[in-house]
Amino acid sequence: MDEDRTRVLLVDDEKDFVELLAERLAGRGLTVDTCSTGNEALERSGGGNYDAVVLDLEMPGMDGIETLKKLLAEQPELQVIFLSGRGTLKTGIEAVKEGALEFLEKPADISTLLTHIEEAKTRRIVLVEKRMQDEIADVLRRKGW
């Protein structure tokens, strides 16, 4: 697998929508996985190998905000973008407050979505590198070199 390819997880219970979007993103060179519930999202992202997660706000079972909280609790560097048909200012603010990168409303322009996914990837890389540096510094300090 090409290491440079951006990996995205799409979470939405609208099957048609999510599959079409996945196909279009794949056509633009992204590696895309899809699932339809918050629980599945948690399972899939367990490996920590997604650059971005695109979440719907409203899903059966666990809703978007709750899923976001659980995802971030497991992986603080994970970048989450909300994409929802039910955007209100209130829920948007709440999502950003809980640590989402962006809140987009359906139907979103694919280029806008791509821009945000790229941004998410960059931020994630920065965060991961920073964490690694911190860890190295920490190890160096502790070993006394």
């Binding site: 609208e14 048609d16 929508f17 599959e19 279009r24 056509g27 899903m59 039910r86 359906k106 139907p107």
Partner: protein, 224 residues
């Protein structure tokens, strides 16, 4: 998130209309987003064609199928929404309960799916006519369905049945355990008031605490 009943406004038909349209508009927005994706995909294909890549017919067929499905879905929703909109036309009219439920079930699909509820209803049970104020009738059955849906904490089947009795039609909506519903008392009280307004009654089934029974006077049945 906000379609759940807010007890203080529950008896108000306007609140019911608001809750339904909010939910339905979400569905419609999904339909449109999907169609938008279809359009985007076709655009992608056209760009590929310009680059000399041939269109895969199977892929095109898939895209067409989705488009047709979403359009049909959108049309259904809009039709049912229209039906609901026209409930305010007459103060009293005769309604076929099968049609009322098929309308409500479409409009409440999102509410059901969020709760992972499967509503089992045979739309062929036509001919159960009720004479009532349509807004109140829809409002009543909406609350009744939602209450039973909320009797599951983690999804399940809600079974809808219509039974003709001597002077009345009995609608049984069976779920899990109605007593476990948060705020169930207030909600049942609202259902009572609504049922009363159209001369009917609502009760918990004696043998099944998960089954709500709504009894409405039958058209042609002997009235007082």
């Amino acid at each position: 998130m906000s379609e759940g009943p807010t007890p203080h406004a529950d008896h108000d038909a306007l609140a019911f209309m608001g809750a339904v349209t909010a939910s339905v508009s979400h569905d419609l927005s999904n339909v449109l987003s999907t169609i938008d994706q279809v359009s985007g995909l076709i655009e992608d294909m056209l760009i590929a064609v310009e680059r000399g890549v041939a269109i895969d017919p199977a892929r095109l067929e898939m895209v067409q199928g989705r488009l047709a499905h979403q359009t049909k879905r959108g049309v259904t929703i809009v039709r049912k929404l229209n039906t609901l909109g026209h409930t305010t036309d007459d103060p009293v009219r005769q309604e076929d309960l099968a049609l009322v439920f098929s309308t409500l079930l479409v409009l409440m699909e999102r509410m059901a799916s969020r709760r992972r509820i499967q509503v089992i209803f045979d739309p062929e049970q036509t001919g159960h006519m009720v004479e009532a104020n349509p807004v109140t009738l829809y409002h009543l059955l909406y609350h009744a369905l939602l209450l039973v849906m909320d009797s599951y904490s983690d999804g399940g089947d809600v079974t809808l049945d219509l039974v003709e009795e001597e002077n009345s039609t009995s609608i049984s909506i069976a779920g899990h355990d109605l007593a476990s519903v948060e705020g169930g008392g207030d909600r049942l009280a609202v259902i009572h008031v609504l049922a009363d307004q159209i001369g009917g009654k609502a009760m918990i089934d004696a043998d099944d605490p998960g089954c709500l029974e709504v009894v409405l006077p039958r058209v042609g049945g002997t009235q007082e």
